[in-house]
Symmetry: C2
Subunit: 426 residues, 2 copies
């Protein structure tokens, strides 16, 4: 039987989960995969943490050079997160010819080309299933399951924290600040939640997933990003009345005219398969030219779900001899001539507050008409007040037209405020 030694860099949530899975399934993997996988080394400053997991003292190190030079280590699992020191550690492992398995979406999305160059140099493997959508095998599916297809659309709920917050806001009619506080208390959101709630985490993942789906490097700075911190409970409620659910979507499109990548809150119809993806669950919806619509659904984060993806990569690395790299022609940058669409097309939910005077709607309608924006639905609320909220949904139109129209509308004398603009996607 093949023996494979693993080193785990960092015993945080995912590192500890990975360690426990490997420890508790060792015999299972011997039987089902024909490979004996043992944890030969862990890099962890907090020695007590490692000892508490039952790791032998001789296998605990605080020195990366020691870990990557250990001849018993074949595969290095990096679960530290962030760019440094993770990047130096991963490069050190690759330089030593060790295969690397990582869950680090930020590192991978920013330095993919550099890491793959280093891996190729020593013929080491480089695996990153755990970087996107936790336990859902989305990367394996893109590389080895949908490779027969030209993928034109990717729509995902790929951040658990924001989906948890939006699900609770929807169910309880609660406002953002209240639910965020609760999510922080329950461990679903970080003390500094901005990486999640402002959409950075989803943007990292979208950059990786759309690069794989579209076979071209989609750099992070090409991803349009808007978070959920500005979402108001009443918009979720109005959307509900109109038959929509609010989600933070990551959208990638490659329609031939260029690539479009964006992360933002969006309404989707209640009967769309993504609409019932709730709490901290994640899902990715794909369209391929041969296969049609496909959806993968599962837990996007957590010790064991993400650990499952890490260990899946470890087993893959241990049982497949040939590594398929995904390096793109142009490395870090987008390929020259590659077009990225920023004036994307969508439908729009718009809410504004106007004085309850005759003629306001006519003026607003005139502005929309000027920008070729046609309106599908219009609701006017609270007829007894001085200021009334007006909600409307447009036909598909261009992003820039809507922004320009809203600037004009905001400048109207009888319009008090333009309150919300939310894209309607499915």
């Amino acid at each position: 039987m093949k023996n494979v030694g693993v080193a785990i860099l960092g015993l945080g949530v995912v590192g500890s989960g990975t360690y426990k899975i490997l420890r508790d399934h060792r015999e299972f993997y011997r039987q089902t995969q024909g490979v004996d996988i043992s944890v030969e080394s862990v890099l962890e400053i907090n020695k007590q943490k490692a000892l508490a997991l039952g790791i032998e003292e001789s296998k605990i190190s605080d020195n990366i050079a020691e870990v990557v030079s250990n001849p018993n280590v074949d595969i290095v699992v990096e679960v530290i997160g962030g760019v440094e020191p993770a990047k130096s550690f991963v490069l050190a492992a690759l330089h030593s010819g060790k295969s690397v398995v990582t869950s680090n979406k930020e590192l991978f999305c920013k330095y993919w080309h550099e890491l793959e160059r280093a891996a190729k140099r020593t013929n080491a493997g480089l695996y990153f299933e755990a970087s996107c959508v936790g336990g859902v095998p989305i990367i394996r599916t893109l590389i080895d399951g949908m490779q027969a297809n030209v993928i034109t659309d990717l729509t995902g709920i790929i951040n658990g924290t924001t989906n948890y917050i939006l699900t609770r806001m929807t169910r309880e009619g609660a406002d953002y600040a209240t639910v965020l506080k609760d999510a922080q208390a329950l461990g679903y959101a970080e003390a500094n939640p901005s990486a999640d709630v402002e959409g950075y985490d989803a943007a990292y993942k979208l950059s990786i997933l759309s690069s794989l789906a579209f076979h071209t490097k989609v750099p992070l700075d090409k991803v349009y990003r808007e978070g959920i911190s500005g979402i108001k409970a009443q918009d979720i409620a109005y959307g509900d009345e109109l038959g929509y659910v609010l989600k933070l979507l990551a959208i990638g499109k490659n329609g031939g005219k260029g690539v479009e990548v964006r992360v933002h809150p969006a309404f989707i119809r209640k009967d769309h398969p993504l609409a019932s993806v709730n709490d901290s669950f994640n899902a990715v919806y794909l369209k391929g030219d041969s296969v049609g619509d496909i959806m993968l659904y599962g837990r996007g984060a957590g010790d064991f779900p993400t650990g499952s993806a890490i260990v899946s990569d470890v087993i893959y690395a241990a049982t497949h001899n040939d590594v398929k790299y995904a390096t793109f022609k142009n490395g870090a940058q987008a390929e020259p001539g590659m077009k990225f669409i920023t004036d994307f097309r969508s439908r729009y939910y718009i809410r504004f507050t106007a004085k309850d005077k005759a003629g306001v709607l006519a003026k607003v309608a005139g502005i929309f008409a000027k920008y070729n924006i046609s309106i599908v639905d219009l609701i006017q609320k609270g007829e007894d007040c001085e200021n009334i909220p007006i909600i409307l949904i447009t036909h598909e139109t261009n992003e820039y037209s809507v922004r320009r129209a809203l600037d004009k509308i905001a400048a109207l004398e009888d319009v008090v405020s333009v309150d919300s603009m939310i894209r309607v996607e499915a």
Copy 2:
């Protein structure tokens, strides 16, 4: 660039779809997969069909020996279906050292061990993604995506024809015979529909999927099977009132006490992710001990969806050098000592017709009590008739207890008929 020659055995729906995908994506695969895949041979008696697809006359054959001895052919795609002549053709290809890609669930589920033995002998690859759930990469996911997990549950909607029929019966309140006729006219059901509607097709797939999920051969004859031809429109309507949707489910469980595999109609709660899998869409819901719940959703049949899975396997075979066989210790049979649970546990929806007399319900309740079956919900309909339908839902109980209880109830003097017994699964 690596050149890979493909032979396609049979130009039916899937064969033609596969040919078109390969033909139209040749340059795309050169660019994205670094491999030049050409169709070098087709086995097809109907020469006109092949010519109409634009296949050169010199590449059309009606002789399997000629096809498998063609030195330009590396991979043989079998999309004939059924056991013979498909089996002989696949064995001939494997004997010649050609890798085989097949969509043939019946062949694979019945002769898996024999085919793998033949493949191993010549070190040929044997791939069968297309045999289960069309374009959904469920087999790749089980083998290379969820391999870190002990999988305990598999629940699938894995037959498109029955899902199409049940979806239309549900939407339209129509009866089985009417919808079946229409489905046949539209090409969603075969002239002889029994392989689909009686659950054989789903049973083949469940045998394959549960063997992979549970790492042990699950022979076809261990799969309990019940089709949808006896389903009545009123049961779908009563289920709807109670919050359930009816689906033909394929269920595999491996809870440690034994393996349980069954295909039958079942009610599931409307908010379960599988409930919104409609029309000819398929989905598989899995539970792994590390990853938790996962669902894969997509098209389970059709020329291009199934062709997508075939071509995915062709690319996999062309770009991976190491084949992972799944052969089980005991070949064709279940491993000795392996326990299969037939007296499975479920909840039950039961409908029977009784005379509208005092005391009937008391007698029925007495029988249920005798078999330790407790009732959750009971609806009594149509109070003005001589005979009234009674619908009830039980708590979880044993299959055999329910069957015995229903025999006793049917024998009661005031019970006109026991009309329906449908399992309630999620």
